[in-house]
């Protein structure tokens, strides 16, 4: 009886959003009299970071400090329509809607500043620190705050913007499946190192390494959150989770967290992620969206690593000790496959 090490990999892509389109997102932005902005949305933050992503996108587009922008979501009386937070559509669809709204608000802001400075709005730039100045002449400047006050109380201008992003609905050809699908695809490749105990059938993930191409990591700390948490969920899906362990027989269903198995804080594996950024032509600053795909390569990489370790193909998830042991038995014992480079 022994423990066998194995290494497996998988590579995937992920289509961002509802793939037929027809899923609009809207945003509204307005300014206080002192140039502090509120972004009103009906988008949902369920942990993925919608509030902060849209805050950074709005501040970048407006050209103001991030601290001068707060995102208010979600109240159906104030936030305009959005399809919802699913299909990794939030960053891409809502990010673009926020850009559109912020551009409109910025347009008014620069018009107001131009009137105060008596220059052409097209000659103005923002410094991202709360100032607007003439391109190439930083001394001819006005603060965003003074501009907003002038717009509000002197010029009678509304520094506000509205935005929508919509990929129109595609039709589908029933016979060939031809369609105009998603416009952005993220990519990933992942290597998993596992150890399989041929006496118990237990699989332990020793470490994982991945590369994710996400268009643009709008907030790298939040990308890390998503990818690390998603990899944990991938291990969980691969090795532990199911409400029907003998599917399609529905019996033996778990009712609580004692019976529904997931890795605990002591079951995590060291995980190293590398981010690649090939901007999506239609993404907000090129962003795509890491939320949904981050478990996907983990499942097959672990399955392939288990095969590499003991020569058992488990085609039915999850890869329980019972299935591994049945496979080892059917093979007449563990059959370790050739080691992969660096996987020893």
């Amino acid at each position: 009886m022994a423990r066998h090490r194995g290494r497996g990999m998988a590579s995937v892509n992920y289509p961002i959003g509802m793939n037929l389109g027809g899923d609009p997102s809207q945003a509204l932005i307005h300014s206080n009299p002192d140039g502090k902005f509120t972004v009103a949305l009906s988008a949902i933050d369920l942990g993925q970071g919608m509030k902060q992503v849209t805050r950074q996108v709005a501040a970048e587009t407006l050209g103001v400090p991030m601290e001068d922008v707060y995102v208010d979501t979600a109240d159906s009386d104030t936030g305009p329509h959005d399809m919802g937070s699913f299909a990794s559509r939030g960053t891409h669809r809502m990010g673009n809607a926020v850009i559109a709204a912020a551009r409109e608000a910025r347009g008014v802001l620069l018009e107001a500043a131009a009137e105060e400075l008596e220059v052409n709005a097209g000659d103005l730039v923002t410094d991202g620190r709360g100032n607007i100045h003439v391109k190439g002449a930083p001394s001819r400047s006005i603060t965003v705050k003074a501009t907003a006050q002038a717009a509000q109380f002197k010029q009678g201008k509304t520094i506000a913007g509205r935005g929508i992003f919509l990929i129109p609905l595609s039709t589908v050809d029933p016979q060939t499946g031809e369609l105009n699908p998603n416009t952005a695809f993220a990519h990933a490749c992942l290597v998993a190192d596992v150890e399989v105990d041929d006496e118990t059938g237990e699989v332990t993930v020793l470490k994982m390494a991945s590369a994710y191409e996400l268009g643009r990591a709008i907030n790298p700390k939040m990308v890390e959150q998503q990818l690390v948490g998603g990899a944990w969920m991938g291990i969980s899906h691969a090795l532990y989770e199911t409400p029907e362990p003998y599917y399609p027989d529905p019996s033996h269903g778990p009712r609580d967290f004692n019976e529904y198995l997931m890795p605990g804080p002591g079951d995590t594996a060291p995980y190293s992620v590398t981010i690649l950024e090939r901007p999506a032509p239609d993404g907000p600053f090129g962003g795509k969206g890491p939320g949904e795909m981050c478990a996907n390569p983990v499942l097959p990489a672990i399955a392939n690593a288990v095969y590499n370790a003991v020569g058992v193909r488990v085609n039915d998830l999850p890869i329980t000790p019972e299935k591994v042991l049945r496979g080892i038995k059917a093979n007449g014992g563990a059959r370790p496959q050739p080691r992969r480079g660096g996987g020893g």
Partner: protein, 582 residues
């Protein structure tokens, strides 16, 4: 551990940004660490009532009678709701985008189709009183035969799970019992293959298991409206669903949410909002309906199981020449969102690889289990598991290293995808290369030289001649296997490009940012291209040593794209799924 490879694709990126790209603190973090983030249940109401539902104990049964008299007299009970109290007691979630037929009651009336289906709702002053009254409801059932296996469910004579879809499958395009993908001639290509790899995969159902269970609080608000604190993943999706079921104008509802204790797809279904609002309407008091953990685990709609069959034809040099896929989504008793998952899955095939011949049949089958719904990676996660384990087997069959096998078959810019659109903005090869380097997984020099930017297009951009069929007509299972009815010529496209994204908002100083949406229309292949079926690209294969010297010739100069007719009126998904005729 997170690191960046800023050197890759640097030419396509403007990294001179102020805030985007910075790891700034989350706006919601102070609320999270102080316990002040307002989740749906974190709202105080005077006179708050609690709603609990009576659920079916059977997988499939006809309801003979429901007796609530004892429950009505139980202490603290304010109101009991039955199916007849629900203004529109049949709905399907995607009816909001006009996709599919209403098939699911809020409270079952004549039969139950899964164990745990809600039948009666009880509203009481405390949760304990509601639970006590729940035990007093008497429902008489005639148990019916059930079916749990997707392939069994599709056989003639199987128990009818869902009367709206009496053949136990979702109906695509008013025409077929499955969603089709046809690209090239897989049968002819299999005949040319050196290796055939054929296998079956089963993705298990998965529970979302968010730490916050599904729930909502609805309360009468001023101005004759109702405020609803909701954990919905789509605020207006839930608002629209509730408005439809309750036959209310949308502006009578004020939904507040946006701070949700995990969802992962399990909070798209509006499981609780319609009943808590109905309860508030009926009692004139705030009503809270929250699933307990056991309900969330057993009846909170899981990620659906999927059974996937894959057959690959592979040449000795490692090129995959044909891939056939047959897949079954287990929708459970009602449609919810499974119908859309199959659409997304179909378009995703054959995965991130350029394969000249692809065919797929994707079914959504109804079974007598809790309806499944969206979950993280919906429509993709399961098939990616199957595809990538299958790729491992393919590499083994032809004696290739699994990474080299993927790089060889990876899609590249300008390649034609199986849904007849050109691939852009690809980066699979680079991801494989970067991981190989990190993990110390040796790659050949050729593999290390490959790039997503080169080597694509040319012969790889052709749409092959494609036999098409009329198999699987609705209600005619005998048509599931049959010959091709015609062969579409090479280059054929049937769907106009209508996909220019729309982004509103007036002009401003920032010149057209990098983020302005562009969708490159497919350039039809010039008529001079050979229309005949080609068993495989005439040009050298993905070319294991293509370097700059062997870059493909530039594509033929495209004719100016013809103006597309503007679409007028509301976009209706019916044109896609419902009443489309050709």
């Amino acid at each position: 551990m997170l690191e960046f490879r800023k050197d890759l694709f640097a030419a396509e990126r403007d990294d001179n940004l102020n805030i985007v790209g910075k790891g700034a603190q989350r706006q919601d973090m102070p609320g999270h660490v102080t316990g002040r983030s307002p989740f749906f249940d974190d709202h105080a109401f005077e006179g708050l009532l609690h709603l609990k539902v009576v659920r079916s104990p059977h997988h499939h049964a006809r309801i003979r009678a429901i007796d609530t008299t004892a429950a009505e007299r139980a202490p603290g009970v304010k109101r009991i709701l039955r199916g007849a109290d629900v203004p529109l007691n049949k709905n399907t979630l995607l009816s909001l985008i006009n996709f599919g037929k209403d098939d699911e009651p809020t409270l079952a009336v004549s039969k139950v189709s899964y164990k745990g289906e809600p039948v009666v709702a009880i509203i009481a002053e405390t949760e304990q009183q509601a639970l006590a009254a729940r035990a007093l409801v008497r429902v008489d059932y005639d148990v019916l035969p059930h079916v749990f296996d997707v392939e069994e469910a599709l056989k003639p004579g199987a128990p009818v799970v869902n009367e709206t879809y009496p053949n136990n499958y979702f109906e695509y395009h008013d025409r077929y019992d499955h969603s089709k993908l046809r690209f090239g001639d897989v049968d002819r290509a299999f005949a040319t293959a050196d290796f055939i790899v054929d296998d079956r995969y089963q993705m298990s159902p998965i529970e979302h298991a968010p730490t916050e269970t599904n729930g909502s609080i609805a309360a009468p608000e001023q101005n004759d409206r109702f405020v609803v604190h909701s954990c919905a993943q789509g605020l207006f999706f839930s608002l629209g669903t509730a408005a439809k079921i309750l036959k209310l104008e949308s502006n009578r509802l004020h939904f507040i949410g946006g701070t949700v204790g995990g969802g992962f797809g399990g909070k798209v279904d509006s499981l609780t909002e319609p009943l808590s609002i109905l309860g508030a309407m009926m009692t004139g008091q705030p009503v809270r309906y929250v699933l307990d953990r056991e309900e969330e685990m057993l009846y909170g709609s899981p990620r659906g199981a999927e059974r996937i069959y894959i057959k690959d034809g592979i040449l000795r040099d490692g090129r995959i020449v044909a891939r056939r896929i047959r897949s079954y989504f287990d929708a459970g008793a009602y449609t919810r969102l499974s119908s859309y998952a199959a659409i997304k899955c179909t378009a995703h095939l054959p995965g991130p690889y350029t394969i000249p011949n692809v065919s797929a049949d994707i079914y959504v089958a109804y079974t007598n289990r809790c309806p499944s719904t969206a979950m993280r990676g919906f429509g993709i996660t399961a098939v990616d598991f199957a595809l990538e384990v299958h790729m491992d087997k393919g590499a083994e069959a032809c004696g290739m290293d699994p990474m080299e096998f993927r790089i060889l078959n990876a899609y590249r810019d300008e390649d034609m995808k199986a849904h007849r659109r050109v691939a852009k903005n690809t980066a699979l090869i680079e991801c494989v290369q970067v991981v190989a380097e990190k993990a110390g997984w040796p790659l050949s020099d050729e593999a290390r030289r490959q790039s997503s930017l080169t080597g694509g297009g040319g012969a790889r951009a052709l749409i092959p001649a494609t036999p098409i069929d009329d198999n699987g007509r609705i209600g005619r299972p005998e048509t599931r296997t049959g010959p091709a009815t015609e062969t579409l010529p090479a280059g054929a496209m049937r769907i106009p490009m209508t996909k220019q994204p729309i982004m509103e908002g007036s002009a401003e100083a920032r010149p057209t940012p990098a983020a302005v949406p562009q969708y490159e229309p497919y350039r039809p292949t010039p008529a001079s291209m050979p229309p005949a079926y080609q068993p495989m690209p005439a040009a050298p294969p993905p070319a294991m040593p293509p370097t700059a010297a062997t870059a493909p010739p530039p594509a033929a100069a495209p004719a100016p794209a013809p103006a597309q007719p503007t679409q007028h009126g509301a976009v209706r998904f019916s044109s896609v799924f419902g009443t489309r005729r050709r």
